[in-house]
């Protein structure tokens, strides 16, 4: 199990790094797929099978949309220069370092409780029950939010014409 975790971790983080460093936006998006699948694999190792499938469906499936936007929004003859780099390397390095340090401190300082219970065999039923009872309000709010975003996208794309 431990070896598998390290293999998955190296693949996930490696492809995330390659995604950032790649100059071709199409390749970057493809490396992002690998990263998301790696995260799904980690969910699977944590026995959260439903979450892993959602990760593959939502993130893995939506990547194609990213790729299409990448192609459509970067009108350049050569794909090798579509993912441009900022010149403020020093500033970026400083911000990243600060982020890593803060994250590391928070991870190390948190007391991670380990549950004695065996992981549940069936996860879907519990998630569904919680979503439709205890967390019904946030669940519905998220649904409305997504609907609003969808309508907003259509209105921006179609440009509403004034009818007197």
């Amino acid at each position: 199990m431990n070896i598998m975790f390290w293999i998955i971790a190296v693949i996930t983080l490696g492809s995330a790094l390659l995604m950032v460093l790649n100059k071709n936006i199409f390749h970057s998006a493809l490396f992002m797929v690998v990263t998301f699948l790696g995260v799904a694999a980690i969910y699977m190792m944590l026995q959260a099978d439903f979450l892993a499938a959602v990760q593959i469906l939502v993130y893995g499936g939506a990547i194609t949309i990213f790729i299409i936007f990448g192609i459509m929004l970067t009108v350049r003859g050569n794909m090798k220069q579509t993912n441009l780099f900022s010149k403020n390397a020093a500033l970026a390095g400083l911000v990243s370092l600060a982020l890593i340090v803060i994250n590391a401190i928070m991870v190390l300082m948190t007391d991670w409780p380990v549950s004695e219970n065996a992981p549940p065999v069936e996860t879907v039923g519990h998630i569904a029950e919680l979503m439709l009872t205890k967390f019904i309000v946030p669940f519905e709010v998220v649904a409305v939010l997504l609907l609003v975003a969808l309508l907003g996208a259509i209105i921006i794309a179609k440009e509403v014409k004034k009818t007197s």
Partner: protein, 348 residues
């Protein structure tokens, strides 16, 4: 059905006897099962290509292949030799690494989907409790491979084909998932073996007939087959996303597409046609054969539709998906939900 179980346990016992650890045994058994699945897909391919040629000829009042072997059955093996002998041409301007892996990733997604598909009672690699959801999730990643092939060819026809595939597959995935939801609501489980067990007395095509029709239409679009094969529409786009592919890489695209066709037909048989349950008490035919008959019935429907209807236009396709199939499938979920409650109130 017991045969495969016996073989699987026999293999495991034998490997354990050889002194392998439990993990190694499990890994070897999984590898053997994966090989068996690939073999199953390839065997189906041989039959399917022949059937497709014969059916298309039948629907167009031609004879089809009739020179090599009985009824032209040996035409395809000869084609395999031809494909293997062809030069593997990669266009100079292509995005080479992506071009190389695109067909292989589609093949991998086609095989991964088979991990949860049972071919009989217990004839399954992993009977996951999220089975059908896993199938949908893996199926959604196939779009990436098609777009990869279309984009990496660096050719406007291929790119247009890839873009059309994305628009079509993402749109039709929604009604496909919604149509399956009706069945899942009635069973109360995502596990495929539970779904088959629930159909012992009545197939779900009877209470979920509309869902079956929606699923059928949506999967025709998902597998990029006619009349929804706009992604490869040869009158407009040469061959769409695999225009530039030749030789063995082209063959891998074809294998993956037929693998997907068999997979969606199997899911349709399991979800709506009772899986391996025998109808009318005709139990003298073994369950595996029953499932195979149903799968081939579904494949026949797919081919019938493909060679009968003309290709429809891309904007009509989108309108049909978003303005008709999605509302109808949502209404189906609502009616199913209300129906389940009324049924529970009556039976107590």
């Amino acid at each position: 059905m017991q045969i495969s179980n016996t073989i699987a346990t026999g293999l495991k016992d034998w490997l354990m006897g050889m002194g392998f650890s439990a993990t190694t045994t499990e890994m070897i058994a999984t590898a053997v099962w994966t090989l068996a699945v690939i073999l199953f897909i390839l065997l189906n391919l041989i039959v399917l290509v022949w059937l497709e040629r014969k059916f298309s000829a039948f629907f167009q009042q031609r004879r089809g292949p009739n020179r090599l072997g009985p009824a032209g059955f040996l035409q395809f093996p000869v084609d395999i030799v031809k494909v293997l002998g062809k030069e593997d041409i990669i266009p100079a301007a292509a995005d080479k690494p992506v071009f190389r892996i695109a067909s292989i990733t589609l093949f991998i997604t086609a095989i991964l989907a088979w991990a949860v598909i049972p071919l009989g009672e217990g004839m399954i690699l992993e009977d996951l409790n999220i089975g059908i959801f896993y199938f949908i999730a893996i199926g959604s990643t196939a779009t990436i491979s098609l777009l990869m092939g279309g984009f990496a060819s660096n050719n406007k026809y291929s790119l247009l084909g890839g873009m059309r595939t994305v628009a079509q597959m993402i749109s039709y995935e929604i009604p496909m998932v919604f149509s399956l939801l009706g069945v899942i609501m009635m069973v109360g489980s995502l596990r495929l073996s539970d779904i088959v067990k629930a159909q012992e007395h009545m197939w779900f095509i009877i209470p979920q007939g509309i869902a079956f029709i929606i699923y059928f239409i949506a999967t025709v679009a998902e597998t990029n087959r006619g009349p929804f094969d706009l992604a490869e529409g040869e009158q407009e786009l040469v061959a769409g996303y695999f225009t530039e592919y030749s030789g063995i890489r082209y063959a891998i695209w074809m294998i993956a597409e037929y693998g997907n066709l068999v997979a969606v037909s199997t899911i349709a048989s399991i979800m709506f046609l009772g899986g391996w349950n025998a109808p009318f008490g005709l139990t003298f035919i073994p369950p595996f054969l029953w499932l195979l008959i149903k799968i081939y019935f579904m494949i026949f429907l797919f081919m019938w539709v493909k060679w009968t209807y003309p290709r429809i236009r891309i904007d009509h396709l989108m309108h049909f998906g978003w303005k008709f199939l999605i509302p109808v499938s949502l209404a189906n979920i609502l009616v199913t939900g209300v129906g389940i409650y009324i049924y529970r109130m009556i039976t107590g």
